[in-house]
């Protein structure tokens, strides 16, 4: 029962957070809603007894990615007239929601198709130790190449964001 109410609260935060993210006009409000959603997601990870994922989500997704996004939003300092004019925003959203509905139904149906139930977890499930053991026994290769991915992305980002005289003709 307690779990259910926690889930309900987190789900509410998550839904409203992401809804706010896609509907606020002001970028910074969207960003803050997104921050909220990501934190609620971390809460869900915790609810799934996945403590390490909870930490990683809080530290990396929330602490690094979203916060940096917020910083960038603040640093570009968008004023009102530079924001896109989207008068028919909600109409578009409704339209695309209708378009996406069949896809969502398909996705939901196949996800729940297997009809599994939550079982009791083994001791230490989701702990740092087990996570590390799995990561370094079965997933060494992806882990290694993720480092290359981060490096490549870093190089790309640095090159693109590096300030050079813009000769905008």
């Amino acid at each position: 029962m307690l779990e259910n109410s926690i889930f309900a609260i987190l789900a509410l935060f998550l839904l409203f957070g992401s809804l706010g993210m896609i509907s606020f006009k002001q970028t910074i409000f969207s960003g803050l809603s997104f921050l909220l959603a990501m934190m609620a997601l971390a809460g869900l990870f915790a609810l799934l007894e996945n403590s390490f994922l909870f930490l990683a989500q809080i530290m990396v997704s929330v602490g690094a990615v979203v916060v940096i996004s917020l910083l960038v939003m603040l640093s570009v300092n968008v004023n009102e007239q530079n924001l896109p004019k989207e008068p028919a925003k909600f109409r578009w959203m409704l339209l695309s929601a209708i378009l996406v509905t069949p896809f969502a139904l398909l996705m939901y149906r196949s996800l729940t198709h297997l009809n599994r139930e939550f079982a009791e977890t083994t001791a230490g499930y989701g702990s740092l130790k087990m996570m590390g053991a799995t990561l370094f026994s079965d997933w060494v290769l992806p882990f290694e190449i993720v480092s290359v991915l981060l490096l490549a992305a870093m190089v790309g980002a640095i090159i693109i964001a590096r300030k050079e005289p813009v000769n905008d003709a």
């Binding site: 196949s110 996800l111 290769l141 992806p142 190449i145 490549a152 190089v155 640095i158 090159i159 693109i160």
Partner: protein
């Protein structure tokens, strides 16, 4: 241990090369030419080390006690590796002048090329979906950055933005599909998926089917199939020439590595499910691509449009695989090789010319080209003929195999449509030949550029012709049969 290290050395060398170039680029003393040479050196080393593995018919899992079955080395991946490295080497060498003539290139550019080659190679070798996804992301992110390399140019930035938004969005479908498959199978290793599909009933495989369909979305997007094509023409146009060439010659091919591995082997019992979907998409791709290609004035855009059509031909073969064709898989491999050779050549000539002028190349700019540069024009004509599938070029044989496989699997109408679009493609490819040969020019004839770029393009032209008519009668030189053997062997190593 040591022999296994030797096997992964080609991949290791590219990534080491990328690190090296990255560190080197902080040093201001090196010129662009030095970076280029270093990059080519690493890539060539990788290519040369990889080459002997083409004769290795075993399937080897590297370091199974550490990596599990995630990383596989077989003939199939070797062939792809060779194409990636060769494509990158040719891109870098042919564009030497282009780099010199533009001021926005720097050392990191070469690092990114090497990173993305590494990503593609890993993609070809990966026997596990998450690894494949990460490898794909490495390649994609590098290519996104490369596409926007000309930062002061708005088109280049826009190309990058468009590519990145759509690419990341469809990329999410890949990982969603992986998640679904993980949910059903409990593992993402390809062999386990195959075992699961074989061992379970229809109802249990539903999740795998949905997952496979989502993964297909990403693949179709990256190869530019209609209706996921909206980025292709713009990105090819907006990206700097060497990047366009790199994308056309390597990145387009890379996706087929994972697609074939997945759909040919693991989804083999169920891939008939997709053939109707694929047929619809193939029809759309062939027609839409032809329409896009016909309506362009700009050559880069025309080649981009036509590359969609070429994806369509390969999709014909993919749906033939689902319908039980034996010839289809080698046909795709052969077609990939033929498309690789012809498109590298065509883009090579374009960027070779573009390096001497600042404007984009339209059909009009090629008026009288044959008089100004007879040899280059002849080679361009050869590449155009090959792309249009004219007999006596490798492109013809590629189409021959594809259509034979379509007929074999009973898709007569699809084969007919393919031949019809091949007929349409004659129009836009011959238009360029007509522009080159039918108009006089006032400019004087230029000498044949006897530098590396010219020689390499010439070599590609010879290969294109040889791949179309080469006989096995001349000893020590593989003829057409040799090319087919390579393709067949690669596909055989998958099973």
């Amino acid at each position: 241990m040591l022999d296994q290290l030797l096997l992964i050395l080609p991949m290791a060398i590219t990534v080491i090369g990328a690190f090296f170039l990255m560190l080197l680029s902080w040093n201001k003393r090196f010129t662009l030419k030095d970076y280029n040479l270093v990059a080519v050196f690493f890539l060539s080393l990788s290519f040369i080390l990889e080459l002997p593995q083409l004769w290795n018919t075993e399937v080897i899992y590297i370091f199974p006690e550490v990596f599990g079955k995630m990383y596989v080395i077989d003939n199939f991946s070797t062939l792809f590796d060779l194409m990636f490295t060769a494509g990158a080497i040719l891109t870098l060498l042919i564009n030497t002048d282009y780099f010199k003539s533009r001021n926005y290139f720097n050392g990191e550019y070469f690092a990114l090329i090497l990173f993305s080659v590494f990503g593609m190679m890993t993609l070809a070798h990966s026997n596990e979906l998450v690894t494949a996804f990460i490898a794909l992301e490495i390649a994609s992110l590098s290519v996104y950055a490369l596409a926007g390399y000309h930062k002061s140019n708005r088109l280049s930035s826009e190309a990058m933005l468009k590519y990145m938004i759509l690419g990341s969005m469809t990329g999410a479908f890949f990982i969603l599909g992986t998640a679904l498959i993980y949910g059903a199978v409990g593992s993402t290793t390809l062999g386990d998926i195959a075992a699961f599909i074989k061992g379970s009933g229809d109802s249990e495989t539903l999740l795998v089917i949905t997952g496979g369909t989502f993964i297909m979305v990403t693949i179709l997007f990256k190869i530019g199939a209609v209706p996921f094509h909206s980025w292709v023409v713009d990105v090819y146009h907006g990206a700097p020439f060497p990047v366009t060439m790199f994308m056309a010659s390597t990145f387009k091919i890379a996706l087929f590595a994972i697609a074939l591995r997945l759909y040919l082997v693991d989804f083999a019992p169920i891939n008939a499910i997709w053939s109707e979907l694929l047929q619809v998409i193939t029809v759309l791709t062939l027609i839409g691509g032809s329409w896009l290609a016909i309506t362009q004035d700009n050559l880069k855009r025309m080649l981009a449009g036509s590359s969609i059509v070429h994806s369509g031909y390969m999709l014909i073969a993919i749906s033939s695989i689902g319908l039980g064709s034996q010839e289809a898989a080698p046909a795709i491999m052969f077609y990939l090789m033929s498309y690789f050779l012809s498109s590298v050549g065509a883009f090579g000539i374009l960027s070779f010319i573009a390096s001497r002028s600042q404007k984009s190349l339209t059909f009009e700019d090629f008026k009288g080209f044959a008089q100004r540069r007879p040899y280059l024009a002849a080679m361009m004509a050869i590449f155009m003929l090959s792309l249009s599938g004219f007999p006596s070029t490798i492109g013809f044989l590629g189409k021959f195999y594809i259509f034979t496989s379509a007929i074999e699997s009973g898709q007569i109408l699809l084969a007919g449509l393919g031949i019809l679009t091949a007929f349409i493609s004659v129009y836009y490819y011959f238009k360029l030949i007509a522009m080159m040969y039918f108009y006089p020019t006032n400019e004087s004839q230029k000498r044949f550029p006897m530098d590396l770029s010219g020689v390499l393009i010439g070599l590609m032209a010879v290969l294109v012709i040889w791949g179309g008519i080469g006989t096995g009668l001349i000893p020590f030189i593989p003829g057409v049969d040799g090319f087919i053997d390579i393709a067949k062997q690669a596909v055989l190593s998958l099973q």
